[in-house]
């Protein structure tokens, strides 16, 4: 008669897994020989104390900036602030008018990862492989035709109507999404494995501030120029937890493409609420993952992206306006 199984059997079996004798020594050598330049030298805004100090200083900068604007243009401070606030409010209204997208996204839930797991290795979950793929295709198809989902709609404005200004937003529902045009027979490489020989990253802002216009004048980077941003995002996916909340406002989008084959592999949205949404497009369909970045990584990413469009001085104002909404 078989003994009933207990969790102790699992513990014993796990304890019996033999870790190689050389692991400790090899790893110790690897870590102690890491070049100093690789340890802790990331260009990040490293602590909440610096962020708190910048927030406090931002209040003074807002007043100084507003006075400068008023003196230069003969306008009052109230008018400048109203103009910026209105453009952000418009984005928020669009964000809330997409209950269908949100409900479909919630059902994807924790099974998102099951799409990519080798079904041969995990026989206990065959059904999980199909459902999320169906959900992904369904939700993305719905998103492609819904003019009210800003996460999908906004890239259309930048890709197909660059320079068209606000008129581009009303045409969004009739244009194809980057997701639809980039479906290919290729398998998207992991962010860490991207070859920089042919890669391009197109960054688009989704806010109005001074000369920066939402959805317009995207910045395109090629080759090794892309490396700092892509590696930062890759690191963020490895260290941040995934979340299932999909209600947020996009601040920037990035389209990562292989120029040699004309395929966009990743659409990345840096949003408010410290969330980064990454949609992968390849022969297996579209897979969307949302990560909750920690404050310092999120601030650093926003900083890197903002500096593609504005100055360091303008970043202080941008940061305080975004955090204050």
């Amino acid at each position: 008669m078989k003994m009933s199984k207990s969790i102790k059997d699992y513990k014993d079996a796990m304890d019996n897994i033999k870790i190689s004798d050389s692991f400790y020594k090899r790893t110790e050598s690897l870590l102690t020989e890491l070049p100093e330049i690789d340890i802790g030298k990331k260009p990040v805004i490293s602590s909440g104390k610096i962020t708190a100090f910048l927030s406090a200083a931002a209040a003074c900068l807002i007043v100084a900036f507003g006075v400068k604007f008023a003196v230069d243009r003969g306008e009052n401070i109230t008018t400048v602030e109203t103009e910026i606030t209105e453009s952000i409010e418009t984005v928020i209204v669009a964000e809330t008018a997409s209950p269908i997208i949100e409900s479909l996204s919630e059902t994807e839930g924790d099974e998102m990862f099951e799409v990519a797991v080798n079904s041969d290795a995990d026989q206990a979950a065959p059904t999980a492989h199909d459902a999320p793929a169906a959900h992904n295709n369904t939700s993305d198809t719905t998103a492609a035709t819904s003019p009210t989902d800003p996460v999908k709609t906004k890239p259309q404005v930048s890709d197909n109507n660059a320079g068209a200004g606000s008129a581009g937003k009303t045409e969004a529902s009739t244009t194809t999404t980057p997701a639809e045009t980039s479906v290919s027979a290729e398998t998207a490489p992991l962010l860490r494995d991207i070859s920089y020989e042919h890669v391009t990253v197109e960054i688009t802002p989704y806010f109005d501030m001074g000369s920066i216009k939402s959805g317009e004048n995207p910045v395109k980077k090629k080759g090794e120029e892309c490396k700092p941003i892509i590696e930062f995002i890759a690191g963020l996916t490895e260290t941040s937890r995934e979340i299932s909340n999909y209600s947020f406002t996009s601040l920037f989008s990035m389209q990562i493409a292989d120029e040699s084959i004309g395929v966009t592999f990743y659409s990345i949205y840096v949003t408010d609420l410290n969330a980064v949404v990454i949609t992968k497009h390849d022969v297996n369909g579209q897979v969307r993952e949302t990560y909750a970045a920690n404050s310092s990584d999120y601030e650093a990413l926003k900083h890197i992206l903002f500096l593609q469009f504005g100055t360091e001085d303008e970043y202080e104002l941008f940061s305080s306006l975004i955090s204050g909404k």
């Binding site: 207990s6 699992y10 870790i19 190689s20 690897l30 990862f113 206990a124 937890r241």
Partner: protein, 171 residues
């Protein structure tokens, strides 16, 4: 530094501290994903490298532990998604000719747990093997405590269905 015994971040002492404290835990957690010890060790090394590259110390030991476990989970998932893994077939595990019936039964239990869907497998492993509380697991995997409780219950239910003769939680 958050305790009198923790070594200063980035020093050789710190490296020894994290190797001594977390190697076994991380390797075994990675093993539940990749099912082979070599890949689990490699991924664990990557986690430690990422830890040093992070460049700043943690606020507390709990924060450090949660960060390491979460990073190990994410890197294991990335490993499973890599093109290399999809294009290769693992070598057959050699049966240990000296294995007795007791060892084989224990391996059956481990195989059953490892065959669970990832969301159940991870919480089962963290709860029963590592002894973490539901709140600790909630912080590690980024799910609500109630959700973790539900996943644990469902995971146990699946194990009971798989095990001939049932599955006891009591040791």
């Amino acid at each position: 530094m958050y305790s009198e015994t923790a070594a200063e971040y980035g020093t050789d002492s710190y490296i020894h501290y994290i190797l001594d404290t977390y190697s076994q835990t991380l390797i075994r957690l990675c093993y539940t994903y990749v099912h082979n010890i070599c890949d689990a060790e490699d991924i664990t090394q990557d986690v430690f490298v990422a830890l040093l590259k992070r460049g700043r110390p943690f606020d507390s030991p709990e924060h450090e532990k949660a960060w390491l476990l979460r990073t190990a989970m994410n890197k294991s998932k990335n490993h499973l998604r890599s093109g290399w893994i999809k294009r290769t077939v693992p070598l057959e595990e050699n049966d240990d000719p000296n294995a007795d019936a007791d060892t084989e039964e224990k391996n059956q239990v481990m195989e059953a747990v490892l065959s669970l869907p990832e969301k159940y497998r991870t919480v089962i492993h963290l709860f029963y093997y590592n002894g973490y509380s539901i709140n600790e697991i909630s912080a590690i995997v980024g799910k609500k405590p109630a959700t973790v409780g539900t996943l644990l219950a469902r995971g146990r239910g699946l194990l009971k269905e798989m095990m001939i003769g049932g599955f006891d939680e009591d040791e």
